[in-house]
């Protein structure tokens, strides 16, 4: 008679044959990030409009000042970068008309500003806006992947879903308080469907997707180290004395709204860092969501908890954003050559002249 151990091992081998690790899975249908109003950020406007848009909300004077300062910094950097690039362009003997070149310059300036926001964001609104560059890259990759799949005999749509900030927003480290206050959403809703492919199709997809990424490798190989270096600056700032000095006030504010009471039981200790606070707030939304609360209840909860979040987060986020904004120009100047490379690559890959 086999021992229980041997019989279990044999049964496990049998199960592995029935459910092989690389077997076909049903599609994974991820839920919306949160559950209420739509329409706000889906139609994200241009880079400048995004910054200027903050002026409308009087309650946001600090972020407005911050945004305006950033706009000036970025505009300065863009002009400086263009002045360098422009000399090269004039030397190339380009005879395009004035209006064409003005339109191109505008587009290029927008793309350059997007590069800064994507790789060196100093504020939540910049971080959100910079996500659009990453989305543009994904759109181009999807188009190339679809073309390659068609050549391999498979059809996938080359139409990307509209830009959806919910897949990019970072409320723990770069919260966009203006957006959260105005939309009462931590992230805009948007379901994400992940298709399920047969094994052969998946293999073709992987090959095609890898090929589609190749043109962007240069951009990312310059952008990624720059981003890493900048995030080290961010982490230093967010862990610095002036920011940590706001933690007691964050605890006091959270206590006004029930901290340490938590839907998962009392929090084990005080809030030590901002992500602890974000997690505490998010728990009320997630807890209700996982208990199957109605959409109306979730909307009500979102309205309440986004207000709590913004009220309590404003001093500490304002403190680190001021420091990050102050640090950004120096960093941009220090890494001007990398930024010029990024601008050039982004323009080659994503400028309208490069569309197919």
């Amino acid at each position: 008679m086999n021992t229980a151990d041997e019989r279990l091992r044999a049964a496990a081998r049998d199960a592995l044959g029935i459910f092989p690790s690389d077997g076909e899975l049903p599609p994974l249908s991820l839920p919306n990030g949160t559950h209420s109003r739509s329409s706000h950020v889906g139609a994200a406007s241009g880079v400048r409009a995004r910054l200027l848009g903050t002026i409308r909300a009087r309650a946001w004077l600090t972020p407005v000042a911050a945004g305006a300062a950033v706009a000036i910094v970025i505009a300065g950097v863009v002009v400086a970068r263009q002045a360098t690039g422009g000399a090269a362009a004039s030397g190339s003997g380009n005879r395009s008309t004035n209006s064409q070149s003005a339109a191109q310059n505008r587009e290029r300036a927008q793309l350059d500003a997007l590069v800064v926001k994507a790789f060196v964001p100093a504020t939540g609104p910049q971080y959100d806006a910079g996500s659009r560059l990453l989305y543009l890259i994904q759109v181009r990759e999807l188009q190339a992947t679809a073309k390659c799949m068609a050549a391999a005999g498979y059809h996938i749509s080359d139409q990307a879903a509209p830009f959806n900030l919910s897949t990019y927003a970072d409320n723990s480290q770069m919260p966009d308080l203006q957006r959260i206050a105005s939309t009462h959403e931590f992230v805009p809703p948007g379901g994400i469907k992940v298709p399920s492919y047969s094994r052969a199709e998946q293999h073709a997809y992987n090959t095609c997707a890898a090929q589609a990424r190749v043109p962007f490798k240069g951009l990312m190989s310059v952008g990624r180290p720059l981003m890493s270096q900048w995030w080290k600056v961010i982490f230093r700032i967010q862990a610095s004395g002036p920011v940590r000095a706001r933690i007691p006030a964050l605890n006091t504010c959270a206590a006004r709204y029930g901290f340490p009471n938590d839907p998962y039981g009392n929090a084990s200790g005080p809030i030590k860092a901002f992500p602890d606070f974000m997690s505490w707030v998010a728990g009320f939304m997630d807890g209700a969501g996982s208990r199957g609360a109605s959409n109306a209840t979730l909307r009500h909860l979102a309205r309440h908890w986004t207000s709590v979040f913004v009220t309590c987060a404003r001093p500490i986020v304002g403190a680190w954003e001021r420091l990050q904004i102050a640090a950004q120009p120096g960093f941009l100047a220090q890494h001007a050559s990398q930024l010029r490379k990024l601008d050039k690559l982004a323009w080659q890959l994503l400028g309208h002249h490069s569309s197919h």
Partner: protein, 187 residues
């Protein structure tokens, strides 16, 4: 530090992820699903006695992890979190099944011991193992399934079940003995 690691993970090399881009929560969860989904379906199916229920439990667990991605203190531990979520889903489903069975008993309508779907979990020669596993207490069953069907080391079983390393060892030992007795009774 873990936030920095999470951020650097966002900036992982193209070869490490599905796209040469900062990875989003959906990217992370999807990659985890593709890499470990079937292993977890196997475990959940054995635990629940039905492939469909197993797939549902795994799907729900991944959705829960996606919803709570911001709450993960360390996204590098997402797999451990998903495993724990799958176990939770299975426990809930088993409790629901137990309630149904009690209700069926009261009305003298016993549920089928083994539906055609349940029979497809394992081959004929191993179904008695599955039946015996299902008769073990929850914790013992989970420990055995994680060890044998997911080939997990004790340290990872401890994390997934939320118990100590030592408790895993003693639970597995007691479970193996109990399973041996049940199989003997059956034969």
């Amino acid at each position: 530090m873990h936030h920095e690691e999470a951020r650097l993970l966002h900036a992982a090399p193209a070869s490490a992820g599905p796209a040469a881009l900062p990875l989003t929560a959906a990217d992370h969860v999807t990659a985890l699903y593709r890499a470990h989904g079937m292993d977890l379906v196997r475990v959940a199916a054995v635990m629940l006695g039905s492939r469909a229920s197993g797939e549902d439990a795994v799907h729900d667990a991944f959705c829960a992890v996606f919803r709570r991605w911001d709450r993960l203190a360390d996204s590098g531990k997402a797999l451990a979190y998903v495993r724990a979520a799958v176990l939770n889903q299975c426990r809930s489903e088993l409790r629901r099944q137990a309630r149904l069975e009690r209700r069926a008993d009261r009305h003298h309508r016993p549920l089928d011991a083994q539906s055609p779907e349940q029979a497809a979990i394992l081959g004929e020669e191993h179904r008695d193992v599955l039946a015996a596993l299902r008769r073990l207490p929850d914790r013992q069953r989970e420990a055995l399934i994680l060890r044998y069907f997911l080939d997990m080391p004790d340290s990872e079983i401890a994390v997934a079940m939320g118990i100590s390393h030592g408790t895993v060892k003693s639970t597995v030992s007691r479970a193996t003995t109990a399973l041996g007795k049940l199989l003997k009774e059956h034969s």
